[in-house]
Symmetry: C2
Protein backbone atom coordinates (compact mmCIF):
# COMPACT_ATOMS: atom_id res chain seq x y z
CA UNK A 1 0.00 0.00 0.00
CA UNK A 2 1.05 3.61 -0.69
CA UNK A 3 0.00 6.74 1.19
CA UNK A 4 0.79 10.15 -0.25
CA UNK A 5 0.71 13.53 1.50
CA UNK A 6 0.82 16.43 -0.95
CA UNK A 7 0.93 20.06 0.19
CA UNK A 8 0.33 23.06 -2.10
CA UNK A 9 0.58 26.69 -0.93
CA UNK A 10 -1.93 28.41 -3.25
CA UNK A 11 -2.02 32.03 -4.43
CA UNK A 12 -5.10 33.49 -2.63
CA UNK A 13 -6.24 35.03 -5.92
CA UNK A 14 -6.28 31.60 -7.59
CA UNK A 15 -7.90 29.72 -4.71
CA UNK A 16 -11.28 29.23 -6.39
CA UNK A 17 -9.61 27.74 -9.45
CA UNK A 18 -7.50 25.45 -7.24
CA UNK A 19 -10.61 24.32 -5.34
CA UNK A 20 -12.35 23.51 -8.63
CA UNK A 21 -9.41 21.28 -9.55
CA UNK A 22 -9.40 19.74 -6.06
CA UNK A 23 -13.11 18.88 -6.20
CA UNK A 24 -12.74 17.31 -9.65
CA UNK A 25 -9.71 15.36 -8.48
CA UNK A 26 -11.59 13.99 -5.45
CA UNK A 27 -14.67 13.02 -7.45
CA UNK A 28 -12.73 11.37 -10.31
CA UNK A 29 -9.84 9.81 -8.40
CA UNK A 30 -12.03 7.95 -5.90
CA UNK A 31 -13.49 6.13 -8.92
CA UNK A 32 -10.10 4.97 -10.24
CA UNK A 33 -8.93 1.33 -9.94
CA UNK A 34 -6.73 0.69 -6.88
CA UNK A 35 -7.54 3.98 -5.15
CA UNK A 36 -8.50 3.27 -1.51
CA UNK A 37 -9.12 6.88 -0.46
CA UNK A 38 -8.36 10.33 -1.87
CA UNK A 39 -9.12 13.52 0.06
CA UNK A 40 -8.49 17.23 -0.49
CA UNK A 41 -8.43 19.60 2.47
CA UNK A 42 -7.52 23.12 3.60
CA UNK A 43 -5.14 23.62 6.50
CA UNK A 44 -6.90 25.11 9.56
CA UNK A 45 -3.95 27.42 10.21
CA UNK A 46 -3.69 28.65 6.61
CA UNK A 47 -6.75 28.18 4.43
CA UNK A 48 -4.65 28.86 1.33
CA UNK A 49 -2.65 25.69 1.90
CA UNK A 50 -4.23 22.71 0.14
CA UNK A 51 -3.37 19.28 1.54
CA UNK A 52 -4.15 16.09 -0.32
CA UNK A 53 -4.24 12.72 1.47
CA UNK A 54 -4.12 9.81 -0.86
CA UNK A 55 -4.17 6.05 -0.35
CA UNK A 56 -3.38 3.55 -3.15
CA UNK A 57 -3.33 -0.24 -3.17
CA UNK A 58 0.02 -0.27 -5.00
CA UNK A 59 2.44 1.64 -7.27
CA UNK A 60 0.45 0.67 -10.36
CA UNK A 61 -2.65 2.46 -9.03
CA UNK A 62 -0.59 5.59 -8.35
CA UNK A 63 0.98 5.46 -11.81
CA UNK A 64 -2.48 5.06 -13.38
CA UNK A 65 -3.68 8.10 -11.41
CA UNK A 66 -0.77 10.23 -12.66
CA UNK A 67 -1.75 9.49 -16.27
CA UNK A 68 -5.37 10.61 -15.91
CA UNK A 69 -6.69 13.78 -17.57
CA UNK A 70 -7.83 15.32 -14.29
CA UNK A 71 -4.41 14.85 -12.65
CA UNK A 72 -2.55 16.17 -15.69
CA UNK A 73 -4.88 19.19 -15.93
CA UNK A 74 -4.10 20.02 -12.29
CA UNK A 75 -0.36 19.46 -12.78
CA UNK A 76 -0.38 21.76 -15.84
CA UNK A 77 -2.25 24.50 -13.92
CA UNK A 78 -0.03 24.29 -10.82
CA UNK A 79 2.70 26.78 -11.84
CA UNK A 80 0.01 29.50 -12.06
CA UNK A 81 -1.78 28.42 -8.86
CA UNK A 82 1.17 28.10 -6.50
CA UNK A 83 2.36 30.75 -4.04
CA UNK A 84 5.28 28.67 -2.77
CA UNK A 85 7.07 25.35 -2.91
CA UNK A 86 4.84 22.23 -3.06
CA UNK A 87 5.79 19.16 -1.02
CA UNK A 88 4.85 15.56 -1.82
CA UNK A 89 5.80 12.72 0.50
CA UNK A 90 5.24 9.06 -0.41
CA UNK A 91 4.91 6.48 2.37
CA UNK A 92 5.41 2.76 1.76
CA UNK A 93 2.91 1.17 4.15
CA UNK A 94 3.40 -2.33 5.53
CA UNK A 95 0.19 -2.39 7.60
CA UNK A 96 -2.97 -0.31 8.06
CA UNK A 97 -5.16 -0.64 11.15
CA UNK A 98 -8.40 1.12 12.08
CA UNK A 99 -8.16 2.23 15.73
CA UNK A 100 -11.00 2.38 18.25
CA UNK A 101 -11.32 5.81 19.89
CA UNK B 1 7.52 5.35 11.48
CA UNK B 2 3.74 5.76 12.07
CA UNK B 3 1.29 7.84 10.05
CA UNK B 4 -2.20 8.44 11.37
CA UNK B 5 -5.25 9.73 9.50
CA UNK B 6 -8.03 10.82 11.86
CA UNK B 7 -11.41 12.02 10.59
CA UNK B 8 -14.01 13.79 12.75
CA UNK B 9 -17.44 14.89 11.46
CA UNK B 10 -18.16 17.95 13.65
CA UNK B 11 -21.49 19.42 14.70
CA UNK B 12 -21.65 22.77 12.77
CA UNK B 13 -22.75 24.52 15.99
CA UNK B 14 -19.59 23.32 17.79
CA UNK B 15 -17.16 24.01 14.92
CA UNK B 16 -15.48 27.02 16.54
CA UNK B 17 -14.80 25.03 19.69
CA UNK B 18 -13.42 22.13 17.62
CA UNK B 19 -11.16 24.52 15.69
CA UNK B 20 -9.83 25.94 18.97
CA UNK B 21 -8.90 22.42 20.05
CA UNK B 22 -7.39 21.70 16.61
CA UNK B 23 -5.20 24.83 16.68
CA UNK B 24 -3.97 24.02 20.19
CA UNK B 25 -3.27 20.43 19.18
CA UNK B 26 -1.22 21.53 16.15
CA UNK B 27 0.79 24.10 18.12
CA UNK B 28 1.52 21.79 21.07
CA UNK B 29 1.92 18.46 19.28
CA UNK B 30 4.52 19.69 16.81
CA UNK B 31 6.70 20.46 19.85
CA UNK B 32 6.46 16.94 21.29
CA UNK B 33 9.39 14.48 21.17
CA UNK B 34 9.24 12.09 18.18
CA UNK B 35 6.53 14.01 16.30
CA UNK B 36 7.64 14.50 12.67
CA UNK B 37 4.57 16.39 11.48
CA UNK B 38 1.05 17.05 12.78
CA UNK B 39 -1.57 18.88 10.73
CA UNK B 40 -5.26 19.72 11.14
CA UNK B 41 -7.40 20.44 8.09
CA UNK B 42 -10.97 20.87 6.86
CA UNK B 43 -12.27 18.77 4.01
CA UNK B 44 -12.90 20.84 0.86
CA UNK B 45 -16.14 18.96 0.22
CA UNK B 46 -17.47 19.29 3.76
CA UNK B 47 -15.94 22.03 5.89
CA UNK B 48 -17.43 20.45 9.02
CA UNK B 49 -15.22 17.40 8.59
CA UNK B 50 -11.94 17.81 10.43
CA UNK B 51 -9.06 15.68 9.17
CA UNK B 52 -5.83 15.26 11.12
CA UNK B 53 -2.65 14.01 9.45
CA UNK B 54 -0.05 12.88 11.88
CA UNK B 55 3.46 11.50 11.51
CA UNK B 56 5.42 9.93 14.42
CA UNK B 57 8.92 8.46 14.59
CA UNK B 58 7.63 5.43 16.51
CA UNK B 59 4.89 3.99 18.75
CA UNK B 60 6.46 5.56 21.84
CA UNK B 61 6.00 9.06 20.37
CA UNK B 62 2.36 8.32 19.61
CA UNK B 63 1.79 6.93 23.12
CA UNK B 64 3.42 10.04 24.62
CA UNK B 65 1.11 12.22 22.51
CA UNK B 66 -1.97 10.37 23.74
CA UNK B 67 -1.02 11.12 27.36
CA UNK B 68 -0.69 14.89 26.88
CA UNK B 69 -3.16 17.36 28.39
CA UNK B 70 -4.08 18.89 25.03
CA UNK B 71 -4.88 15.49 23.49
CA UNK B 72 -6.90 14.36 26.53
CA UNK B 73 -8.82 17.65 26.60
CA UNK B 74 -9.79 17.12 22.94
CA UNK B 75 -10.69 13.47 23.53
CA UNK B 76 -12.90 14.46 26.51
CA UNK B 77 -14.68 17.14 24.46
CA UNK B 78 -15.25 14.90 21.43
CA UNK B 79 -18.59 13.36 22.40
CA UNK B 80 -20.11 16.87 22.46
CA UNK B 81 -18.35 18.00 19.26
CA UNK B 82 -19.10 15.06 16.99
CA UNK B 83 -21.94 14.88 14.46
CA UNK B 84 -21.09 11.34 13.35
CA UNK B 85 -18.69 8.44 13.66
CA UNK B 86 -14.97 9.34 13.87
CA UNK B 87 -12.44 7.23 11.97
CA UNK B 88 -8.77 6.78 12.86
CA UNK B 89 -6.43 4.75 10.66
CA UNK B 90 -2.87 3.93 11.70
CA UNK B 91 -0.29 3.16 9.00
CA UNK B 92 2.96 1.33 9.76
CA UNK B 93 5.43 2.96 7.38
CA UNK B 94 8.52 1.13 6.12
CA UNK B 95 9.84 4.01 4.00
CA UNK B 96 9.12 7.70 3.37
CA UNK B 97 10.32 9.49 0.25
CA UNK B 98 9.93 13.10 -0.83
CA UNK B 99 8.89 13.18 -4.50
CA UNK B 100 9.90 15.77 -7.09
CA UNK B 101 6.89 17.28 -8.87
Amino acid sequence: MIVLHATFPIDPERMDEALDHAETLVAETNEEPGVIDYRATRDVEDEHTLRFFEQYEDAAALEHHEETDHFQAFEAALPDLLAGEPEVIQFEVSEATELEL
